[in-house]
Structures are given as C-alpha cells and as structure tokens.
C-alpha cells in the first residue's frame, strides 16, 4: 500500500471531476466519521494497493498498515483501478461516492431499469428525467425513479438534443452498473 504520486492523483481526480465537478472538494476534504472521538477528525485519503485505488479514512489506513502486503485484500472503498498501460478506470464500487456528489443525473423509467442493469446503454425510450445543462461527454449518474443509484456513464447527447432525438437514440453510454456485482464478481 502506498500513497499516490502526483501524476496518479491527477488522473484519479480528473476522472472524479467529470462526475462531481466542484463537489470534488467535498470528497477530498470530508471530515472522517470514524476515528478517535474528540480529536480533530482526520480526513479521507486515497491509497494505492496492487493497482487499485482505495478511499478510506486516515484512522483506517493507520490500522491497515499493520497488515502485510500479500495478505491485504481491500481497504475502505475501492473506487477504481489502474490498467496495465497506466490509465485510471472508475469501477462500480465508486457508485455510492459519486451518487452523493453527482452534478448531472439521469432518471430511468421502471421498465428500462433491468435493461440497464444487464449492461445495455440508456435509450431515449427509457429516459424519464435528465438534469439541465448536460453536454455530450459529461459524466452522468443513473438513478431509478426511487432515487436509487444504478450506475454511471458518459452522456452522448446534450439535454436539448435529447428532446429532439428519436426513441432508439443512445443517451448515456454505460460505464458501470450495479449488475456488475453479479456479472463480474471476480474482476472486482
């Protein structure tokens, strides 16, 4: 387990920024919930272990240091991993974190929820609601009508274009969804 160096931190923050925007500050400077009471609560930090990036509070990290490298499996929340070529990918485990700080959201109709969870992209026919000011290429978090986060992806069209588009047009290209917990159990 080690800290991220500057390049790696920049890559992680950029990916997160696509979804959260200025709310990224809240993620980075979040006061820890757990930890020694009374003292000034430590913050959350990012740590790298076997090409996976974990988001955990400082007190948790301090305790995890006593576990040896071969034995340590996971720590806090895994938000993504670095590929062999060095690029960073967000995984579905970061969904919870992104959903609470998302800037742009998309709500799905109940009929197309299952389709999305199977791994299909969001079509115009399944779209119930979308936030204003979405531009193509923006990070977007997908919710169900009951405000349950289902996954996230990249918007293919702007909000205006969505209205004009026909029913089969792809609105959101899916990057990760909650169904992956069953499909790609081994990869996570």
């Amino acid at each position: 387990m080690r800290t991220l160096d500057e390049k790696e931190t920049a890559a992680v923050f950029e990916k997160l920024f696509k979804f959260t925007g200025p709310n990224l500050k809240l993620i980075v400077e979040r006061p820890a919930v757990e930890g020694p009471a009374g003292d000034d609560p430590g913050r959350y930090c990012f740590r790298l272990h076997k090409n996976r990036v974990f988001y955990a509070s400082e007190s948790l990290v301090r305790r995890a240091v006593s576990v040896s490298r071969e034995r340590l499996v996971s720590l806090g929340t895994c938000i993504g991993k670095f590929t062999k070529t060095g690029s960073f990918r967000l995984t579905v485990q970061s969904l919870d974190l992104l959903a609470s700080h998302a800037r742009r959201k998309v709500w799905l109709k109940p009929t197309s929820e299952m389709s999305f969870l199977y791994g299909n992209p969001v079509l115009k026919s399944g779209l119930a609601r979308i936030t204003e000011g979405v531009n193509p290429g923006d990070g977007v978090v997908v919710f169900s009508m009951s405000d349950l986060p289902l996954g996230f992806g990249v918007a293919a069209r702007s909000t205006q274009d969505c209205r004009k588009a026909h029913a089969d047009a792809i609105i959101v290209n899916r990057q990760a969804d909650a169904g992956e917990y069953l499909r790609n159990e081994d990869d996570l």
């Binding site: 800290t3 160096d5 923050f13 990224l24």
Partner: protein, 303 residues
C-alpha cells in the same frame, strides 16, 4: 701588479686564485710551465703568510699550529665493502645435484627437495620442521618489508627520498576544489558503477552472462519518491498540500466550463429586451416637436 686576494683554505693547505687568467697564451710548453710556477710560488707564499699568522703553541720540537677546519668540500671516496655482484639465472643445486634456476618454479634450495631434516636436541617431538621453516621465512619477509618502510620514512625525514618514491599524503594537492582530491572508491561504489556499465548493451545487459562472484545490481529501475503511507497525526501536511495543489489546478482548468453559456445568453437577451421596452415607453410618452415631420407627398417622377 697589485696584491690579489687569494682564497686560502688552511684546513687543506690550499690556495686558490679565482681571478687568474693568462694575458696571452704562452707560445711553448716551457713558457707555460714557467708562468705556472711563478704563479704557484706567489700562492705558496700567501699560504705561508697565513700559516704564520695563526696563534702557535710551544712544544718540544718547536711551535705547533692547529689548522682550522677545511672550508672546501671534497667528494668522499666510495665505501670499500659495497661491491656489486652479478648472480646468474641458473645455479647448481646442491641438494638434487642438477642445474636449476635461482628463483621461481623448480628453483635451487627449495624446501620440497629436502628429503629429511635431522632433529636437534633442542627440537620438541611433534613439531613440523618444514612448517617451522615456512613460518620463519614469512617472518623474515615481513621484517624486511617493515625495515624498508622505516628506511624510507627516515630518508623522507632527512629529505633524501629517492626520486621515484613519493608518499601518498604528500601527493595530495594543496589548493583546488574537492573534486581534485583523489578519492578512494569504495567496494560498493565500484560495484554500482560496474552494474551500471553492464546495462550499457543493446538489450540492457539482460542476456549477458555474469562473471563468478558478480552480484546483480540492487537499485535497478527508475528512482521514484512517494509520500509516507501514514504519518504521525493523521494526514501529513505534504499529502494535503499535494491534493490541494492538484485540486486547484483542476478547478482552474475547467473554470470556463462552469459558466453555462446558454443560460448566460438567455439572461443577456432578456435584459436586452427589457431595455428596449423601457426605451420605447420613454419615446411614446415624450413627443418632440423638433423631430422632422414625415412628408406625406410621394416624390413623383417626371418622365
């Protein structure tokens, strides 16, 4: 002729005229001899004068004068005992009765040719005589080396060090930068350098056979520095600084994206509309007689 000052060395009973030169080269040998004798006579006279000037002590045979120390340095003669002897490459070995070389492989007086060493009364039983000979030889060599070193030191002290010998300490430069000082490379340094040099091949030294005893290079790969995983009280200040810096850079880069262009355009348009409406109101309520009246007549064209 004026009186010339001769150099008199009474210790050697010698007189020397430094300014003497022949006015004209004498024609014959006899002439030369005559001139020299004349000059010599003068010098002897000068020596005698000097001698009689010295304080004399009375003795049975007559006055005795102690000569002073000689002032001229005469070269001393060679020491009689030091004679150079040449030893041939081959010599007759008494033990084996053959001609062998003096030094090296198959040499004369080698210990391994001795078949038997007779024991003396002083020898203890259980002692290895050949081993003893070996130890003694070692001791002799050590002593010789030590004496040699001591001699050199003494010579250096007296200032008579042979020209080809120079002590390491005196060879250091007195002025200059630290880079001029010859530094002894340590074993680790040499190993590192050798390792680095070994990677200077087309395939990075991966497929070269290693010599026996050559250890693989320890610090291969690029040097990377990381912040400590956990430090003291919570997140270290360095980590905080790093994250803050990167956050700021990100925010700054995308600050122009935060502005919603469409919204700004509509807001601007609305403002403009309102302004125009206000101006129209003002125009209607204040009619001005100075305004040029529009003529109702159409200009007709005369064909």
């Amino acid at each position: 002729m004026e009186l010339e000052k001769y150099q008199i060395d009474l210790g050697n009973l010698m007189g020397f005229d430094a300014t003497h030169h022949f006015d004209s080269i004498p024609s014959s040998r006899e002439e030369l001899a005559k001139l020299c004798l004349e000059k010599g006579t003068e010098l002897v006279q000068a020596i005698a004068n000097a001698l009689f000037a010295l304080p004399a002590t009375e003795d049975r045979d007559g006055p005795i004068v102690h000569l002073p120390q000689p002032t001229t340095k005469l070269p001393r003669e060679k020491h009689v005992c030091i004679t150079k002897r040449k030893k041939g490459k081959r010599a007759f070995d008494e033990q084996t009765g053959t001609w062998k070389r003096t030094h090296g492989y198959d040499r004369i007086n080698d210990d391994k040719d001795i078949p038997i060493i007779e024991a003396k009364l002083s020898d203890e039983p259980g002692e290895d005589p050949l081993g003893k000979r070996k130890d003694e030889k070692k001791k002799r060599i050590e002593k010789q080396k030590k004496n040699q070193l001591q001699n050199l030191k003494q010579a250096a002290k007296a200032g008579a060090l042979p020209s080809h010998v120079q002590f390491a300490a005196t060879a250091l430069p007195i002025t200059g930068t630290r880079a001029d000082l010859p530094t002894k490379s340590s074993k680790e340094e040499l190993e590192n350098v050798a390792g680095m040099a070994a990677t200077a091949t087309a395939s990075g030294g991966k497929f070269d056979w290693k010599l026996p005893g050559e250890k693989p290079l320890k610090h291969t790969g690029k040097h990377r520095k990381f912040l400590p995983v956990v430090e003291g009280k919570g997140m270290s200040s360095q980590e905080q600084k790093q994250t803050a810096k990167i956050l700021e850079q990100l925010m700054a880069k995308s600050s122009n994206n935060i502005l919603d262009v469409n919204k700004a355009v509509t807001v601007f348009n609305v403002k403009k509309e309102r302004k125009r409406r206000m101006e129209k109101e003002i125009q209607r309520t204040t009619p001005s007689k100075l305004e040029p009246k529009k003529s109702l007549k159409k200009p007709s064209k005369k064909h």
